[in-house]
């Protein structure tokens, strides 16, 4: 397993090659380097994973070098592999490779940006490298390095089409909002370092028991702050829908499958700290539950297909947070994995639809596409089934595990909220499917996708269905018991029935068999719809509480009030200079006379006459 370092090194090498050639490589070579580096990394990761599981070790670390040595503080670059980071590595490289492969086709005809093809893959490879450092680092400093690295790549890729100022704004918003969480997380790391004098995770977790409850809560909440920012949970969720400004493969890789689940990884990794503080754990669960409900109601009112999927991502990560909060660590990671499969599939399939309709994203301008775009349609259908958690899909296995554990450990509230959101998920997913693919055709599609675009869809489709069984069979051993299909109580049957009910209601309403326009068009219905459409007013509030006052302050301070002190100093120096310059007449005899006068003056002072 000593060649394990190749896993992060290959994408980094890919990035460096694309970076130093500055887009001079032909596009075919770029595609080969960009997707190939991640593909090779996936193969290496597969081999390492195989060896790791076969060896029966619980963890394996590979020290590479010492990063910095300052006194007792010597963080090293060490790769650390255990079941958790193995699952994450598998998702990042495996799903990452499929998305890269898809992107070689998706970005092919994209002539909007000069040298954009190479730039795109350079950023994507850098992202994969940073994400791998995030999950493989054995100390929190390396994790933080990867954490900020993925944030940077997210910023670069959201603003990929930088000619449109709106995309730049979305990128800046994502960067600034996640920075709020990152600041909290950095404070949490400082606290941990203060307590343990080290940032090595295994050392911290081994001694976590020595934390006082108050300190454990503080650390837990600060780290949760970072996780909330990165994973787009309430109250820092507002950046994710706007992040859809990036190309669709970016949305699939960064804003669905990997980066936004980094928060889940962080909390699962630091679970020993959370176990010490029931309060912090409770807050995690509540954050998850609130996000889950808010975003699934919002998704019901969106019209942009990518925004629907973005809100759906938020709600699925909400499930993971709820699972973490009620102590179902393995179920959360299981859902992370299945979600990576089916959400990547949904995004890529929607990307195919968007591409076929010449970058049309409004679902109400689609319609009747199911015969014309069979591969995207079936991919989307499979992904939706998994998202809705229909029986025998991967999403079913993981969501079922979360809901049942939530009931056992958390009670009716968490189960009820989760089940309600599951029904809403079914409703908005059905709406998206029916409006997009059925009914009257509104725009003629133009499908010229090649094998490199439909192959990832097929593979992800298989994973979206079969991933659940794989999870039950393998993750159960690796991560710990996952509660799924373990008992057929009435509660479990209701959990299964809710999504089916949601699909049924959705089908009745959105295919027009039941007319609900009276309810929707009523004052209350309209108001609610507009409220939900705006994301429950979070953007509105933040705009008024933070953005507008800040802009106003900036406007007042346009002339730099703080700089006044320095400007006075400068004016003083300039005035003195002017007076001094007056003595510089250029007349030699005048200088000599002054010299003599000065000499007399000095003599008088020395002789104490004056």
């Amino acid at each position: 397993m000593d060649w394990f370092w190749l896993v992060p090194a290959l994408p980094l090498a890919g990035f460096l090659v694309l970076f130093v050639t500055e887009g001079k490589l032909p596009d075919k070579v770029v595609a080969f380097v960009g997707a190939g580096s991640v593909g090779l990394a996936a193969l290496v990761a597969l081999g390492v994973g195989w060896q790791f599981v076969a060896s029966g070790q619980s963890s394996f670390s590979l020290p590479l070098w010492t990063w910095i040595a300052v006194g007792d503080f010597t963080p090293s670059i060490t790769l650390y592999l255990d079941s958790l980071s193995l699952v994450m590595t598998g998702v990042i490289t495996g799903v990452g490779f499929l998305i890269h492969l898809y992107a070689t086709g998706y970005m092919w005809q994209d002539h909007e940006e000069p040298k954009g093809y190479s730039r795109f893959f350079a950023y994507m490879n850098l992202f994969v490298f940073a994400m791998l450092m995030l999950v493989l680092g054995d100390n929190l400093l390396t994790l933080f390095l990867g954490w900020e690295g993925v944030g940077l790549c997210s910023y670069l890729l959201i603003g990929f089409y930088h000619r449109d100022p709106a995309n730049g704004y979305a990128a800046r918003k994502a960067f600034v909002v996640t920075r709020v969480g990152d600041t909290l997380m950095a404070l949490g790391l400082f606290l941990l370092f203060w307590e343990f004098k080290t940032l090595e995770m295994q050392a911290i977790l081994a001694e976590a028991g020595s934390l006082t409850p108050g300190m454990a809560t503080a650390v837990g909440l600060l780290l949760l702050g970072g996780a909330v920012g990165k994973s787009a949970q309430v109250p820092l969720q507002t950046w994710l829908p706007d992040a859809m400004a990036g190309p669709t493969p970016v949305s699939a890789l960064i804003h669905a499958a990997t980066m936004v689940t980094a928060g889940v990884y962080l909390i699962a990794r630091m679970q020993d700290v959370y176990l010490l503080s029931a309060d912090a754990q409770h807050v995690v669960a509540v954050v998850g539950l609130v996000t889950l409900l808010i975003s699934s109601f919002t998704a019901l009112t969106q019209t942009d297909i990518k925004r629907i999927l973005a809100y759906s991502t938020m709600s699925q990560i909400g499930y993971m947070f709820m699972a973490l909060g009620v102590g179902a660590w393995s179920a959360a990671i299981f859902h992370l994995m299945t979600h990576a499969f089916f959400k990547a599939l949904l995004f890529l399939a929607s990307g195919s639809v968007i591409l076929a309709l010449h970058h049309e994203q409004d679902i109400f301008k689609m319609g009747g596409l199911w015969k014309k775009l069979p591969i995207p349609f079936w991919s989307m259908a499979i992904g939706s089934a998994a998202l809705v958690a229909l029986p025998f899909t991967s999403g079913f296995a993981s969501k079922d595990a979360i809901l049942l554990t939530a009931y056992d450990n958390g009670g009716w509230l968490y189960w009820g909220g989760g089940a309600l959101a599951a029904g809403m998920t079914a409703l908005y997913t059905t709406r998206m499917m029916i409006v997009t693919f059925f009914g009257r055709s509104k725009t003629e599609p133009h499908d010229d996708s090649k094998a490199n675009m439909w192959l990832p869809l097929v593979v992800l489709g298989i994973l979206s269905i079969g991933g659940g069984w794989f999870g039950i069979a393998v993750l159960d051993d690796l991560l710990g018991p996952i509660k799924s299909f373990s008992h057929f109580t009435p509660l479990a049957l209701v959990t299964i029935a809710v999504p089916l009910l949601g699909v049924l209601v959705g089908w009745l309403v959105f295919s027009g068999r039941v007319n609900v326009s009276a309810v929707v068009e009523s004052g209350l219905g309209n108001g609610l719809r507009r409220y939900w459409h705006g994301g429950w007013g979070f953007d509105w509030v933040y705009d008024r509480v933070f953005v507008k006052p800040f802009v106003a302050m900036a406007r007042i301070n346009k002339n730099d009030v703080v700089d006044l002190v320095f400007r006075i100093t400068a004016a003083l120096a300039r005035g003195l200079h002017y007076i001094g310059a007056l003595t510089q007449t250029g007349r030699l005899r005048w200088y000599a006379a002054n010299l003599g006068l000065g000499l007399v003056l000095v003599l008088l002072i020395v002789l104490e006459v004056l």
């Binding site: 007449t585 007349r587 005899r589």
Partner: protein
């Protein structure tokens, strides 16, 4: 038979010479006269050194005068070059003509 000259008289002479030179520097505008005045000032300083050396019976004063002589020779070599340049550039020996370098 050596005639004792009181040191006070010598220093007075040196002071008068120095002031004469300084007045010449300040009053004259012709560079040649300026340089000659400077020379007088330096010799006044040299005279003071000699007197002081004689009073204390030390050779230092005479050595200092040697230095002053060497300095004067070097100064004249440089100054004459400057004078030449000024007379070429401004077509005059008036020092006030060369006052371009004012603040």
């Amino acid at each position: 038979m050596a005639i004792e000259v009181p040191v006070f008289h010598v220093l007075m002479l040196a002071g008068v010479l120095f002031l004469l030179g300084l007045a010449g520097v300040l009053v004259r505008r012709n560079i040649m006269f300026l340089l000659m005045s400077l020379e007088i000032m330096m010799n006044a300083a040299g005279l003071a050194f000699i007197a002081a050396g004689a009073v204390w019976g030390q050779p230092d004063g005479q050595i200092m005068f040697m230095f002053i002589l060497a300095l004067a020779a070097a100064e004249v070599a440089v100054a004459l070059g400057i004078v030449l340049q000024i007379s070429r550039r401004f077509d005059t020996l008036d020092i006030d003509a060369a006052s371009d370098f004012n603040g």
